[in-house]
Amino acid sequence: MNAGMSMKMRAFSVLALLALFLMPAVISNPYYVHLVITILIYAVLLFGLDIVVGYTGQVSLGHAGLFGIGSYTAAVLVFQLNWPFLLAIPCSIAVTALFGAILALPALRVTGPYLAMVTLAFGTIIQILINEMSFLTNGPEGIKVAKPVFFGHMLTEIQYFYVVAVLTVLSLIVVDRIVKSHLGRAFQALRDSPVASDCMGVSVYRYKVYAFVISAAFAGLAGGLYSYSEEYVSPNTYNFELTILFLLAVIMGGRKTRSGALVGAMIVVMLPSLLSDIDLFREIATTAAVTGVLASAFLLWKKRKTVREIVVPLVATVGMAAFSYKLENITDWRLTIFGLMTLFVVYYLQDGIIGFLRGLFDGAASVVASDVSVPTEKVETVHDHSSAADGTIILSAQQLLMQFGGLKALNQVNLDIVKGTVHGLIGPNGSGKSTMMNVLTGIYKPTDGRVEFAGKIISGSTPSAIALGGVARTFQNVQLFGEMSATENVLVGLHHTFRSNVLDVMLRTRRYRDEELRARIRAAGILEFVGLGAMASEEARNLPYGKQRLLEIGRAMGLNPTLLLLDEPAAGLTAPDITELIAIIRKIRQHGITIILIEHHMDVVMSISDTVTVLDFGQKIAEGKPAAIQADPRVIEAYLGGSVGEKPVPITSAKGA
């Protein structure tokens, strides 16, 4: 099915390309040629914006500012220094990318609404600077830019169209390559679970900056092209309204698709001209209302939706149509219409037009990026770490103190983990087990004390550095990358195997292709290893709960760890799942990988642990062989209450309160 799909896609792409390049032959009216150029330029920007909005899931209100920087860089270079097109455009890209990095710096530590406001502030500052720095930008008067000149010949509108078209197609290819590579996977990973990304060695900070820089570079290219296209730039173009328009285009067209960006660009460029014609708008609004009523009637009749669910959009579309007949001057209400469209898209068309069409045509099938069919080459999937060093201390925590306000979640805890063993960590809820996990993996910085791993002090390092050092983990509350397939989840774990940079990805160099192939083969092997081979291309969020836990282990194995931390892997699992889990843990151990196991299922802990440490109220109360721990009166007291000295009841299976 995949092959057929890609054939169809290829044929479609060729047709689309032909149509694009033959277009000027059909439409020669300069007004329409200019319109198409604008659509293509917007599309370039939207490809980039989609990396930030669609892939990393952040709201950027600063892209009009970045677009403005691109425009002004080209315009200023032409106006002040008379630079040619071929120098001005690369400068636009470089300067805007630099500003993208500057924007990303404060944005590094914040997400969601904070980031939205930061980017909004950035956009506002840019607009003020363009306005005020008259010596450079000619202030509010703006700058005139002539069409590019090649060999003494100034390009006509149609020739310029070809320049833009070629650059748009190139941008599309480049963006497509980037988002389907390990970089794109990193972007998506940090959207779905920043914590898990960090713990897979994918530094959230670094990749957020990358995403902004790449996104800004495209905004710069688009901006530069826009200057030449409009032949005039002025500060007021790059305002808040334009930013909203860009966002509307991305979400309306459909996130995470290039076709969505094209559709979105088409809509927002055409919209103002559509809205200047009241009769046309009335027709469109009426058609939308009729379609809305029919669709609602159909959905109600099929019982797919309830009246409650459809009443708001229905009232909105019908209201819009009625409103359109009352209006005399539609241009004044342009922003209201944008606003209503945004509201509608946000709540009723979350996957955009392309997503909607996809859902309509092929039901559930989400297209997963080019899965490699069967592993042909033999690649060692799970490295063997057993060595003569078995029996030495691999991880040693000394005098660990973790304080939250007045609470000592860990109080002077010492922990030594012997290489090649399974070390159980148990204790009642709130005893500090998960805190220990988070301190060991660098998510919390301990208040005092230190952690030594393989001879190096790791307390104080970042989670991604610790992960890259060979410490992998799973999470108590599953932290998979939900929108990515099982294979892609493991591939994020394998991110550290990539040495290719963004240029390798853009040019598809041999190095990148080799690394990608090897990683995919290894990912397939790892999925087999944890028993998920049959579900490789399933989206992680659609897997049953037990399988999600196994996938987390698989993803952690991708890191090629020497130490694996399992945080309640059996929580919520059914009995057969638990049996499978125990088998997998044993297999992992046979490869010489040391395991720290936090678990409430005593039968699991006691059957596979070599040593068990018991925590209670942040302190270590016992440590030893499972059998000894089961008989330890202090442990029994901690779990079951009662005082020391009463007849000990051996623990067989106890779930923490």
């Binding site: 530590r109 904070y114 406001m117 502030a121 506002t124 909203i244 922003l335 606003g339």
Partner: protein, 296 residues
């Protein structure tokens, strides 16, 4: 020296306006973890509705300035409820951060556009209820309205604080802020509390609008930059601290007046935004905010 003092005094009155709007951000953030990106527009609508009631733009004046204030606050409350109902509640239901950010922005542009169509695109003067003859304080000219702004802003914030601490409804708000799920389990109608916090938040913004309007011009575009700078204030002070809002407001208000006078009025907006970027880059929880520990 007089000039400096004068700038500081106008900075304080401007800063108190920022503080009130920032306070509005804090109210909704506390109960629901969401913010109204149209907070500036709530202020703008408050000021313009106030103008229609107490000014002559729509055949008025119908009321005097002081009687108009409660009506404007009721209007603000209703507007806030509308925002919550259309823009925030569905997003909370589907747990979409992107959803409420985008929909409150969308509502903000709609409000701005509607205001442009009702009140026009030009800025209008708002009749001042007090004489504009300045009072001399240590040689600096202070407008009586500036003093009213400072007192009014403080009174508004104090009223909300007292309500939250003393009344049983206020305690429901505080409980919801601390732990929405637990408050829900204790029988508090948390969704009503969230709606209420939006109403309160927009009402304070509308109140700030009619306070500031006599000192500046009113118009559909007045909200956007006030809203953004008030967000900067909320961040500088910390989204969880009322004192932080006041301190942040004062810092920004004074910084802006000084920049406007000593550098260029074109750059007046810049210090707030730069401060916002700096605080977020260095101490995202703000000067007075507490850092929440992320549970994994």
């Amino acid at each position: 020296m007089e000039i400096l003092l004068q700038l500081i005094i106008s900075g304080i009155s401007l800063g108190m306006i920022y503080a009130v709007i920032a306070f509005g951000y804090q109210l909704t953030f506390a109960t629901s973890g969401t913010l109204n990106f149209g907070q500036g527009e709530a202020l703008m609508l408050g000021a313009l509705v106030g103008l229609s009631l107490a000014g002559s733009v729509h055949g008025g004046p119908y009321l005097n300035y002081w009687l108009m204030i409660p009506l404007v606050m009721i209007f603000g409350g209703l507007q806030g409820m509308l925002v919550e109902w259309i823009g925030v509640r569905p997003a909370i239901k589907i747990k979409s951060e992107f959803g409420w950010i985008m929909s409150t922005i969308a509502l903000a542009i709609i409000f701005k556009n509607v205001a442009e169509n009702i009140w026009g695109k030009d800025d209008l003067t708002f009749p001042s209820p007090l004489s504009s003859t300045p009072i001399q304080i240590w040689g600096a000219n202070v407008q009586p309205m500036q003093i009213v702004v400072v007192l009014g802003a403080l009174a508004m914030m104090a009223a909300v604080e007292i309500f939250n601490r003393k009344s049983i409804y206020g305690k429901a708000v505080v409980a919801t802020s601390n732990d929405r799920d637990a408050a829900g389990l204790m029988g508090i109608n948390t969704s009503a509390v969230i709606t209420f916090s939006y109403a309160l938040s927009s009402a304070t913004a509308a109140f700030a609008g009619v306070l500031i309007a006599p000192l500046t011009l009113t118009g559909a575009t007045m909200g956007a930059s006030l809203g953004l700078k008030a967000f900067a204030v909320a961040i500088i002070g910390g989204l969880t601290s009322g004192v932080g809002a006041i301190v942040g407001g004062l810092i920004l208000g004074i910084a802006e007046e000084l920049t406007g006078y000593y550098i260029s009025s074109g750059y007046k907006e810049v210090p707030g935004l730069v401060l916002l970027l700096l605080v977020l880059a260095i101490k995202p929880a703000g000067l007075f905010g507490k850092i929440a520990i992320k549970k994994v």
